[in-house]
Amino acid sequence: MPADKPLVVIARRGSKRWISAADPAALKLGLRIGMAASKAQAMVADLLLVDAAPAEDAAALERLALWALRQYSPVVAVDGADGLVIDTEGADHLHGGEALLVSGLVNMLRGRGLTARAAVADTWGAAHALARMLAVETTVVPVDNVTKAVIDLPIVALRLPAETVQGLRVLGIDTVGQLSAMPRAPLTLRFGPDPARRLDQLFGRVAEPIEPIRTPELVEVSKNFAEPIGAPETIAKYVKRLVDQLSAKLAENGLGARRCDLAIHRVDNTRQHLRAGLAKPVRDPGPLSKLLWDRIETIDPGFGIEKLVLVAVFAEPLEERQVVSSLIEEEIADITPLVDILGNRGHRLFRVAPVASDVPERSVRRIPATAPDIGQTWANKWPRPSRLLANPERIDVMALLPDQPPVVFTWRGKRRKVVRADGPERIFGEWWMRPREFQAVRDYFVVEDELGERYWVYRAGDGIDPETGSHLWFLHGVFG
């Protein structure tokens, strides 16, 4: 399919054929969504037409929802025919906050060739409306600011049937603000309960629970309680039972859980979700229940819990493997369970691995804590400081150019006399990373003051050519 030609998707309603989606090239030529197909063809000569496939679209959207369920939050559902709704409560901090979560999500989808718009708001209704009506990619509405954000949106955003929207427009109501100013009784008499209900949902006056997406492949176990439970010990006991059942089911299918969600249904019809993520597939009940027990204190049982549901939202094949046993060497223990426990508490776990780069701040990269062993270490034999400042700090220096170490330097207001020094170790900029580094040079010196404290200082530039750097001095690290 040629990429440069305008493309539209044609949907059918009865005998009418109309544009249901168009690419940016087509929109630029003046084609609009809802336009008749014949008119579009008349306007643009070499227009590409593709028949709409709603069933395939729905299936793709469901796949996307399942992906988001694994990646983002325990509560994800398909919203209408063209969107997803994600309950980010308690999940946003894992991605660095709400703004980073949505921008990351939109970027991730763009990487997959999808154009997406996302909005975060207090209620499902508000987020739904903002994502569809604003022309910006990501919107984050601060808590309790929904009213201000949605008041000017058109009533199309309200998830009302098309006839109702048409009828309201006839009455001269165009925006959410106008609609909410209308008296309720005549509105309900004329259009049924829908407009009032949607408004209440939009402003968060009535609860709108999101029923998370489930597929037959997901391994799920649940327990209903005739008497609501609330004591932490009781919850722990039933969590253990559920985990046992879940691991038995996983074992039947030869699977191991990577992510488990515990949904807690309370008697007042609200829900709470706990998510436990694992670095490697696991179906051993011990570590699994430990991960969930760890967070029981965060459960608020309210008036009691009437149902617990445990789902393995992300499972991977897990094969039993015989461990090679040697009688002489003691086995180095697998620390994956520890990584899981700490990771689920919100700590950032990582290992470091060498990078072939002479620039100190680029010579270390973080890898996942459970990544296979790299086996390599830094080949450099030059002394390196054990603490490296994230940002090199300016120092005032007295030094002979071009290649003598400093005689005295002042760092953080303290003047230090250099007794011994080593250097320079010249490090060149990496022009393949940034063109500005084409000529950049740093000359590193190890300096030792009268007290024996050793520092790593450098001069930006080679001491002769101003093209190579500013010739200012910086302190970059502290030796032990």
Partner: protein
């Protein structure tokens, strides 16, 4: 310790006390420094596994803890198994630690936002079992917290090392407060080893053993860990000819 052999009665008594304490159920293991003078000052002839140790820097090292981190890295390098390194300020430059013999594959870092979280992560690591050592870079170490760490370490036999580093140098007076740790060290930098040419030689430290359970305090002048994490005893040398002469005699 040497005086054990001198007084068998005392040794037996100590053994019975240890049994009462419950520590004797597992054979007490130690990690010797490989330097006779240092090991002699430590009960059991080395740094005990299943115990908590405290290390801090002196002078400017109270804030950056650079020398203390290398000292800890040298200890961890000579142990066997994985090491958990908990911290809140991720400024450890691993190439330097790798030069002290600690392989990057052996160290799992745990970065936390708050000090208390780092403490809880360290406790979890110690009570997990299967780790050689759990290192925590902490500002405060109250008695209760240190007691918890010590008990967790006793239970599994992992070595707990708290690397104390403060925000400001004058806060370091906190280091005198009692904690439940088995040993307490302070590592201060000394002028580096003299070279016959201009340059900076092997780093030298003053390692003060400020507190040790069932032992005497001591001070050592040591050389920074080599590529296998081993320290060396480097006695003080006066500035001047004797050092050069010694070096010449070694070379010649």
């Amino acid at each position: 310790m040497a005086n054990h052999a001198l007084n068998p009665m005392l040794a037996e008594l100590r053994e019975r006390v240890e049994q009462l304490e419950g520590g004797a159920t597992r054979a007490r293991q130690v990690l010797p420094f490989g330097v006779a003078e240092v090991d002699r000052a430590l009960p059991g002839g080395g740094l005990a596994f299943g115990a908590l140790h405290e290390v801090a820097g002196g002078g400017g090292g109270t804030v950056d803890g650079a020398a203390a981190a290398l000292f800890v890295a040298g200890i961890a390098a000579r142990s066997r198994g994985k090491v958990l390194w908990c911290m809140t300020r991720p400024d450890l430059f691993f190439p330097a630690v790798a030069q002290a013999g600690l392989h990057p594959d052996r160290v799992v870092f745990c970065e936390s936002d708050r000090e208390e979280e780092a403490l809880s992560a360290m406790e979890e690591g110690l009570s997990f079992g299967g780790l050689a050592a759990a290192v925590g870079e902490l500002v405060r170490l109250p008695m209760t917290a240190s007691r918890r760490l010590q008990l967790a370490a006793e239970k599994t036999g992992a070595m707990g090392i708290v690397l104390r580093r403060w925000r400001r140098q004058n806060e370091a007076s906190d280091y005198g407060q009692p904690t439940a740790s088995t040993t307490r060290w302070r590592i201060s930098t000394l002028p580096s080893e003299r070279l016959p040419v201009a340059g900076v030689g092997r780093a030298r430290w003053l390692a003060e053993l400020m507190r040790v359970k069932a032992g005497e305090c001591a001070e050592f002048e040591i050389g920074a860990p080599d590529a296998q994490g081993r320290i060396d005893l480097l006695p003080t040398t006066r500035d001047g000819a004797d050092q050069t002469a010694r070096w010449r005699s070694l070379a010649g």
